[in-house]
């Protein structure tokens, strides 16, 4: 039996509820939209707030706060197989109680821990990699993450910019976090066309790009290390990496991005174009 839910966290919790009421173990749990017709029977599970609430509370009571947060975080995981592992994790949790979080040798537990970690890691990277641009006093940003990280970003950015108005658009999940002073919500936004840059915005972007390049030490260039720390899939939305086709500044070009093979680039002094006239 395959359980189908509406894709929300409440929907998933209702599947857990249903499985315990019927005393049956589902073969798989998937979102209705991702389901493909197959040989197995399916069961549509309706979302019910009260039932979801009961399951949610019971997780906290039986397995503790740590497990509840773990499940919530892991549910943001954006790749396949998520729900079934979460279901198995919860089954173990109901049997073993709060100790379940430490049973790292268990397949389901370690999968759920890894999913939660993967979400947290991507969210942490994006805390730094989100780039805002100002339009009419409001800050706009676009991201395309693998996992649904907006709930994690919400906490951070609402705390950081309490007096700003901002929006972060998640292109992958077509959702957006919108914040006006002291109120935030996550809404569905299909497509978003960014307005044209103002001259002031272009200036700051240019300053930032210039800074980013002049901070590079030419004798230590190591693109592999750079890609390892900042995977290329983020570059599209980061202004200092994205529009590199735009003519970089003279000084920036000389100071950065030249390998150590070029003997003349070794010395920052000589590579700097701002030489004094008399030199």
């Amino acid at each position: 039996m395959i359980y189908l839910h509406d894709g929300s966290f409440a929907g998933f919790l209702c599947c857990v509820f249903e499985s315990f009421v019927r005393r049956e173990a589902p073969l798989d749990i998937v979102c209705r939209e991702d389901c493909q017709t197959g040989l197995y029977a399916v069961r549509e599970i309706e979302s019910d707030r009260a039932r979801a609430g009961r399951v949610f509370r019971s997780i906290g009571e039986r397995m503790g706060e740590e497990a509840r947060q773990l499940v919530q975080r892991a549910f943001l995981f954006g790749e396949g197989g998520r729900d079934l592992w979460l279901y198995r994790f919860l089954c173990r949790g109901y049997r073993y109680g709060p100790a379940v979080c430490d049973m790292l040798g268990d397949e389901a537990v370690s999968r759920v821990q890894k999913m939660a970690l993967s979400v947290s890691n991507e969210a942490h990277l994006l805390l730094g990699f989100v780039r805002f641009a100002e339009y009419d006093g409001a800050l706009l940003s676009q991201i395309s993450p693998k996992h649904f990280v907006l709930p994690v970003l919400r906490e951070h950015f609402c705390d950081r910019y309490p007096e700003e108005t901002f929006m972060i658009h998640d292109k992958t999940h077509q959702m957006a976090l919108i914040y006006r002073p002291h109120r935030a919500k996550i809404v569905s936004v299909k497509a978003l066309e960014l307005p044209l840059d103002t001259p002031q915005e272009q200036l700051y972007r240019q300053l930032w790009r210039g800074y980013h390049q002049s901070a590079t030490i030419a004798a230590r260039v190591n693109p592999r290390c750079q890609r390892g720390n900042m995977p290329k899939r983020f570059w599209g939305e980061m202004c200092e990496m994205a529009d590199r086709s735009a003519p970089p500044l003279e000084g920036a070009r000389a100071a950065g991005l030249q390998g150590p093979e070029r003997g003349d680039a070794l010395s920052p002094r000589r590579s700097s174009p701002h030489r004094l006239a008399g030199e």
Partner: protein
Amino acid sequence: MELLEKLEILSDAAKYDVACTSSGVDRAGKKGQLGSAAAAGICHSFTADGRCVSLLKVLMTNICAYDCKYCVNRCSNATPRAAFSPRELADLTIQFYRRNYIEGLFLSSGILKTPDYTCERMIETLQILREEYGFRGYIHAKAIPGADDRLIARLGMLADRMSVNIELPSQQSLRLLAPDKSKADIFRPMGLISSGIAQNQTDLVRYRGAPKFAPAGQSTQMIIGATPDTDLQILRLTQGLYRKYGLKRVFFSAYTPVQSDALLPALTTKPPLLREHRLYQADWLLRFYGFDAGELLDERAPNFNPYLDPKCNWAIHHMEHFPVEVNRAPYEMLLRVPGIGVKSAQRIAKARRLGPLHFDGLKKIGVVLKRAQYFITCSGKTAVGLKISPEAAFRALVSERSAAMLPQNRPEQLSLFDEPPVTREDVVSCLTGQI
């Protein structure tokens, strides 16, 4: 001069300062103000050399009265000079911060006129940020050696982290290359800051609202490879700094030649990146793994092994401590097993309370079995089908890149009179301590 040009000159001049971390202080945002700080630190970008950009790292000015031989900004160097006005720099910081380009500001300076004057300008900048803009982001300020104690104290009240660069690992080297700076000049502000932090701790116990003095602590950095100091000297100094001054971090910076001087390595010298890397590895062992500088290096081998990282090197020379029983060994001993890091050691300690661990469980926990299997047993058993020999252990510990540096066994023309060449086996047995 245009802002863009200024920014380029002054960030170019500051880039040899390695510390760009924004860690060590947790400060939530507040209504009506701007910004917050996260204890773990947040990296906002990475430059092409793979270093993290977390803070806007600039000098207030690169006009400098000193003439330190290793420094780009020494007064005898013909380089373009610029200076930010406090207002200009504060505005720039805020605009970058709002766009989430940066986590805060790293402010250092050349010595403009006198140390006191320089320090005052830095204070003015930070005051605009903190008081006018209500900026709650991260600020790292360099203490200017030679500045008045009260100015340093004021700077510490505005900044999250302070640092004084120790520059070179010994007084001898310092006298040679930085004639205007003395050991006392450097250690005085360092001691001042650490006693300020200690004093502040007791104040905070007494009344909660006490203003915080450099809450993210103090750090320092030194240049590696400009002088003939050994790794042992450097590591001992590092350990001393952690213990005596309670520093949060000691940074190492591989010397990049910026000018030719009879006292300095030649211009064509490549920065000793591997050495720097080994020092950082050892630094981690000091701070998180409970190692002592004397265990990692001694007078007989005062420099790190280029083929093996310091932890593996220690393990392979102390095989008498191994194998350890994963299910019973104390946490401190788990930490010393190659292939087990702090996280996996913590996870093992947690998971083994619930039942015995086996090799497949260890793998799920994140232990690097390829390395660890030579040093552990699970419930008294070693990994199935494993033959333990120093040669095999060495092969597992050495990274692929280092392995490529070893002499290769390749066919050779025989000759009657040649010296026997150094073979791979010789090197390996030497490294594993058999000779």
